[in-house]
Amino acid sequence: MLSVADLHAYYGRAHILQGVSFALGAGEVLVVLGRNGAGKSTTMKSLIGLVRPRGGEIVFGGQQVAGWEPHRIARAGLGYVPEERRIFADLSVMENLEVGRQPPREGLEPWTEARLFALFPNLGRMRARAGGRMSGGEQQMLAIARTLMGNPRAILLDEPSEGLSPLIVEQMAHAILALKQAGVAVLLAEQNFHFAARVADRAVVLESGRIVWEGTMEALLADEAARAAHLQV
């Protein structure tokens, strides 16, 4: 579905991603773990095209998309939910969803407002509310729902659990598993190991812009030494 080979990305002169490679299978949940500054968000931004990679390949749905404009990558079926959520503060919930709307995609049941409100019942109760007047958890739900309106085949979720209450984190986990059920592949960037362990099938661990560990979630749960070396603060 999505495969990345030897990806290099820079912020100005800083070499952030130094040859990242991994693959996300159809209907899979893959988590990118790593400490602050490891390059998780940069990986996500490079994949959607907001950061232009300076080297390497990104193949999505059989197409080489590295260097494409973000809107073309999004239209090809790759959804992106940024870490800061980036809700349009002046737009209502319904209008935020409208911005994300793209035509249905073959082989996927199209996401409608009704289906999204079933997934995130909170949103259905505040359709006219301005995005800027929602809580962090509600904004996170809206950010995911907005991206789903584009009927993506795969979705990039950048730290969806960050700053949320345990109750909302639980809802997020539930939603991610529901996405997997619906056939949407999920690439998750996380620092919250327990949240990741709850939803992910496989994991890669980033450190200083390189992949230092790769394997199934069970294997990572069993490998205490790797967790101590790469994840504990």
Partner: protein, 609 residues
């Protein structure tokens, strides 16, 4: 009382056209973050195109309506072409370069319009239906103006519906807030931007067409309208349509009433209102904080020049000092002008680069200095040294006063406010003919006998200007300059370590104003006269061109830019009548080719090698 009422209605009618222009400006800015200087030119083109189109249509209300709408569509198409050909390529460029590129378009459109329609003012012959009037309190009021008054709210309502009730409008509002996110959601920004630009241009064209029956199509519409539109957008709040309408009404009525009571000070009146608004609400009546915020990229470090460049500078200085022995009187006068330009450019660079305050009206200080020196020497009979000393004093003092407003703003607001202030200085010089001589200027202001030899005067100018520029450079590396740059890069952090950022900026603004005033004072004695053009927009743009040509992020850049520009400009003026077209095209080409300036590009090449 009736009289005031009629003036009020006249003002409201004028406000509608102003609103149409400002609405376009504000919508375009909201989405593309580009301040479109050429917006006034689109308005002017609207007036001209309407003049031509209406001449071919039946002279009845239906024909008029059709012609006006056709004009709006034609201008929308022009706007779309402009966006695709130029603006699309400079969305990532620094905002001042964008302003400059669109100013290049202003120059080109001026010559193009003169070439197509000629230099004469073109009035629209009013058909009988348009000459109708209503009687209000015994006075006649044109019926057409009543329709015009209605046009403002109608367009405001239509725009509101477009932006809030259509998918396209929702996308536009989303892109106004966060265009990157909109792109990441699969929306093609380019189409959206082209559409928005076409809408804005169409509105400007509509404004020009609707205002035509009350005036003429002429070549000065562009700059007068863009100045008004900037003021309105600043007063109303950048990005707010209702704000633009409110401010249009305020300014329109103020102008109509002001012209009766203080006919010579309408612009000053407008400025006072703008200043009062900005003091009470720094982001305009209905604007919001953050609307102007643009992801600021840390500017590259200004480092002392490498040794080679210092030697080159010294060599250049020696060559310049020896020049009078080698060149004729004409070349010497060009060199004198170039030295004055050098100090002028260095002073603008001082506040723009290290000070972080982009000014679009730097000519204000040049003009103030020039008039101060000229008046001191003619009206007060002051001796040459005293008159010359008064130039930087007066300019610096006024800059310190005006700076109180300026240092509270940033970015585009600041550029617009400085532009408006310069227009006011120009207007005072132009309108207050009892003191300034108006358009005729002040003549016969010559240096004393000891300096009548052009070579001696040149050496004085060289010493003052090169010395001034070096002093400005010195200040940048002094603790004051370092603090100033800290305040520019992060006002909040600078405050947190105890730097008084507002005071630092104010002082920098006053210093830059004084240096520009000194340049202005010297220019008076160099030419023996001063005219309102000393404070004109063209002069401000000259300075900007020099700085930006050279590159804001280098100290030597503006100096190189000043010399290159003075030479080019002089050659151009003598070579062609269509110098605006050539200059405008050159500006656009330079911005497209060197978004970081000539010296900036050279510095980059140097570092690479």
């Amino acid at each position: 009382m009736t009289f005031v009422l009629l003036q009020l209605l006249t003002g409201l009618a004028g406000a509608s056209a102003l609103f149409l222009v400002s609405a376009g400006l504000t919508v375009i800015f909201g989405v593309t973050r580009v301040v479109n200087f050429s917006h006034g030119s689109l308005y002017m083109l609207g007036a001209y195109v309407a003049w031509t189109v209406l001449g071919h249509l039946p002279r009845d209300p239906g024909g008029f309506l059709l012609g006006v709408l056709a004009t709006a569509l034609i201008l929308a198409a022009v706007g779309a072409v402009l966006e695709v050909a130029l603006l699309r390529r400079i969305y990532r460029a620094p905002e001042l370069l964008q302003l400059l590129a669109t100013f290049g378009v202003v120059l080109m459109v001026q010559d193009a319009a003169q070439w197509i329609w000629g230099a004469e003012d073109l009035p629209l012959p009013r058909p009988p239906w348009m000459r109708g009037f209503v009687v209000l309190g015994g006075e006649r009021f044109p019926l057409y103006d009543l329709w015009l008054i209605a046009a403002g709210p109608v367009v405001l309502g239509a725009l509101w519906l477009l932006l809030h009730r259509t998918r396209w409008g929702t996308l536009v509002r989303a892109a106004t807030a966060d265009r990157e996110m909109v792109a990441a959601l699969g929306v093609d920004q380019r189409k959206l931007f082209t559409g928005v630009f076409a809408l804005g241009a169409g509105l400007a064209g509509l404004g020009g067409a609707l205002a035509l029956p009350d005036g003429t199509a002429n070549l000065t519409l562009d700059l007068s309208v863009i100045t008004d539109a900037f003021v309105i957008v600043v007063v109303g709040g950048l990005g707010s349509l209702p704000g633009a309408y409110l401010a249009s009404v305020l300014i329109g009525v103020l102008q109509a009433i002001g012209i009766v009571f203080v006919p010579k000070a309408t612009l000053v009146l407008v400025f006072v209102v703008m200043a009062a608004t900005l003091v009470a609400r720094p982001h305009g009546l209905l604007g919001r904080a953050g609307a102007t915020a643009r992801e600021a990229e840390a500017p590259p470090l200004v480092l002392p020049a490498p040794v080679v460049l210092r030697w080159a500078g010294l060599a250049a200085l020696l060559v310049l000092a020896a020049a009078p022995f080698a060149v004729g009187p004409f070349a010497l006068s060009v060199l004198t002008e170039a030295m004055i330009a050098l100090l002028f450019a260095a002073s603008l660079h001082f506040m723009m680069g290290p000070g972080g305050m982009p000014s679009f009206g730097h000519a204000a200080w040049f003009g103030l200095g020039a008039y101060a020196a000229a008046l001191a020497s003619t009206a007060l009979g002051a001796a040459f040294p005293l008159a010359l000393l008064l130039a930087p004093l007066a300019a610096g003092l006024v800059a310190a006063l005006f700076g109180w407003f300026v240092v509270r703003l940033s970015g585009v607001y600041l550029a617009m406010l400085t532009l408006a202030f310069a227009q006011i200085v120009w207007a005072v010089a132009f309108q207050w003919s009892g003191i300034t001589g108006g358009d005729n200027g002040i003549l016969s202001v010559w240096p004393p006998a000891a300096l009548t030899d052009p070579r001696r005067f040149y050496w004085l100018v060289l010493a003052v200007c090169a010395g001034g520029a070096m002093l400005l450079r010195h200040v940048l590396y002094a603790p004051f300059g370092v603090s100033l740059r800290a305040a520019r890069d992060s006002a909040l952090r600078a405050e947190a370590i105890g730097l008084p950022t507002a005071k630092l900026r104010l002082l920098a603004f006053a210093i830059a104003g004084a240096a520009a005033g000194l340049a202005g004072g010297l220019s008076v004695f160099s030419k023996g006269s001063v005219f309102p053009t000393a404070a004109s927009l063209g002069r401000s743009v000259d300075a900007l061109l020099m700085v930006l040509l050279g590159g804001v992020q280098t100290i030597s850049g503006p100096l190189v830019g000043a010399l290159v520009y003075t030479g080019l400009y002089d050659a151009l003026l003598r070579a062609t009548d269509w110098w605006r077209l050539v200059l405008g095209a050159a500006i656009v080409a330079l911005v497209l080719a060197f978004p970081e300036g000539i010296a900036g590009a050279a510095q980059r090449a140097w570092r690479r090698s």
